[in-house]
């Protein structure tokens, strides 16, 4: 479904991605792991179109989408939940959700999706009229995921959904990621620093070290391998 071929991305003269290859099959949950500054966010922004790569290709559904604008990719169902949640602080929770459905016109289906996300995260229903900036970190992450779901994604790019959240909320959010994947068949590319957590929900994982994939494999194999855990996953 998604294929990255030899991506090179630069910030000025700094090369953040140095020829990155990665594939995601339809229906999979893939974890992209790596330390701070490895280039995980850069990879997602390359896919979503925010930072076009200098060299290399991005394919979605077999079509070359390199250099396409983020808004055109949203229309194709490729939707990013960026690092730091990026809730519109002065829009209400409901308006944030409406922004997620910005490109859609199918009002009855939009209402159904609204019900769906309110069932996933009932707290959002109670907060619907409140401005996004007043939500707690966990509620903001729930809203960020819900906003993306309002766009009917076929593939979700999630950038560190666990960042700064309490363990209980992280568990809740990861359960829901799996639920979305199973119920709606949404493909997920999940960026995480918390490797143990990510490997529990992922089918496969890639490990990114300073702009290059240094290791990949099924989540179980990576979890089981003591050496790999020590070297890459912090124990």
């Amino acid at each position: 479904m998604l294929k990255l071929e030899g991506l090179h991305t630069f910030y000025g003269n700094i090369e953040a991605l140095k020829g990155l290859d990665l594939t995601v099959e339809e229906g999979e949950i893939i974890a992209l792991l790596g330390a701070n500054g490895a280039g995980k966010t850069t990879t997602l922004n390359c896919i979503s179109g925010l930072i076009p790569p200098r060299r290399g290709r991005v394919f979605f559904d077999g079509e070359d989408i390199t250099g396409h604008s983020p808004e055109s990719l949203v229309a194709r169902g490729l939707i990013e939940v960026p690092e730091g949640r990026r809730i519109f602080p002065a829009l209400t929770v409901m308006e944030n959700l409406k922004m997620g459905a910005y490109l859609r016109r199918d009002q009855p289906e939009i209402s159904r999706d609204l019900d769906y996300v309110f069932n996933l995260f009932p707290i959002l229903r109670a907060r619907a009229g409140q401005s996004g900036g007043t939500l707690s970190g966990g509620e903001q992450q729930m809203l960020a995921i819900s906003r993306a779901l309002m766009g009917r994604p076929r593939m979700l790019l999630l950038d560190e959904p666990s960042l700064g959240l309490a363990p209980l909320i992280i568990r809740n959010i990861f359960d829901i990621i799996r639920q979305i994947n199973m119920e709606r068949g949404t493909t997920v590319l999940l960026v995480e620093q918390n490797a143990n957590l990510a490997l529990k929900v992922a089918d496969r994982a890639y490990i990114l070290t300073t702009g290059l994939i240094t290791l990949s494999g099924s989540a179980e194999v990576l979890m089981a391998d003591e050496g790999i855990r020590k070297a890459y996953l912090g124990g």
Binding site: G49, F88, L91, E95, K98, G151
Partner: protein, 300 residues
């Protein structure tokens, strides 16, 4: 008492027109973080188009409210096209460059438009027709308030209401607010930023054009230079209110209109124009973010 009422009325009238212009500054700033110094020129062009349209259309036999509405429509449409073009030519190519380059481009655009109108139309003051029909019911109080003034207040109030509805309740308004808060996230939600920016310039220019038409009806003369001072004052009003804030722009414009009017009445009309800038300095020292702005002026 009579003097006081007179000053109140002229303050409200000028404040209304400043508000129509100030909204364009504040909306553009909110969306792209840019001071569009050519905005005063769009207002001036609006006044010229209104003048040309009123001559042509009254020749064609239009009169009364029909004439006024047609003239307004012509001024709005043409000025909106100018505003749209200014953005495409002067600002869009510079997006993503330093903050200084669009500022210089804006000043260049402003000078160009002034000269363009001066050469194409006239370097002199031109007489502007009184387009607002006399309202019979105002006759008993006509020494205090005339129909042009009443029309200016009502038109401004109506436009403010329409703008508020647009921003609060429409899809375009929602996307404008989203872009002003987080442009990248707006793109990740599917918003075409270029289109939102263009719409903002078009709306701001349309409001300024109405201001140009109204000032023509009120002052009964225009020249190519009216956009400069009015633009500076409306910009001051926007900063007074807190740049980027729409209610702030309206409040700042009214405060400025009253302050000028009272300064002219109670001190001397020589000080009228200086008041705007004195007020600006005082308020920015006391409240750097403006009357309704955030404590911080720097937009992220």
């Amino acid at each position: 008492m009579e003097l006081f009422l007179d000053l109140l009325i002229s303050g409200l009238t000028k404040g209304s027109i400043y508000a129509l212009i100030a909204l364009g500054y504040t909306m553009v700033y909110g969306i792209v973080g840019l001071i569009n110094f050519a905005h005063g020129e769009i207002y001036m062009i609006g006044a010229f188009i209104a003048l040309i349209a009123s001559l042509a259309l009254s020749q064609a036999g239009l009169a009364g409210w029909g004439l006024l509405v047609s003239v307004a429509a012509a001024a709005v449409v043409y000025s909106a096209m100018y505003g749209w073009t200014v953005e495409k030519i002067a600002y869009k190519p510079l997006r993503g460059s330093s903050r200084l380059s669009p500022l210089i481009s804006a000043i260049g655009m402003s000078i160009f438009l002034q000269n363009y109108v001066q050469l194409l139309q006239s370097p002199n003051f031109l007489t502007f027709p009184s387009l607002v029909p006399e309202l019979g019911f105002l006759a008993p109080v006509s020494h205090i308030v005339n129909s042009t003034q009443l029309f200016i207040w009502l038109a401004t109030a109506l436009i403010m209401t329409a703008l508020t509805v647009l921003i609060k309740f429409t899809r375009l308004g929602l996307s404008m607010r989203a872009v002003s808060q987080d442009p990248d996230m707006a793109r990740l939600s599917g918003v075409n930023i270029d289109r939102v920016i263009s719409s903002t310039f078009v709306i701001g220019s349309a409001l300024a054009a109405v201001g140009g038409l109204l000032i023509g009806c009120y002052m009964r003369q225009i020249d190519f230079y009216i956009g400069f001072l009015a633009g500076m004052k409306a910009f001051t009003a926007a900063v007074l209110g807190g740049i980027g804030s729409i209610p702030g722009a309206v409040l700042g414009a009214l405060v400025l209109g009253f302050a000028e009017s009272f300064a002219a009445g109670f001190i001397s009309s020589d000080y009228e124009d200086a008041v705007a800038f004195v007020l600006l300095i005082v308020i920015l020292i006391a409240r750097p973010g403006g009357l309704m702005g955030a404590a911080q002026t720097q937009k992220v």
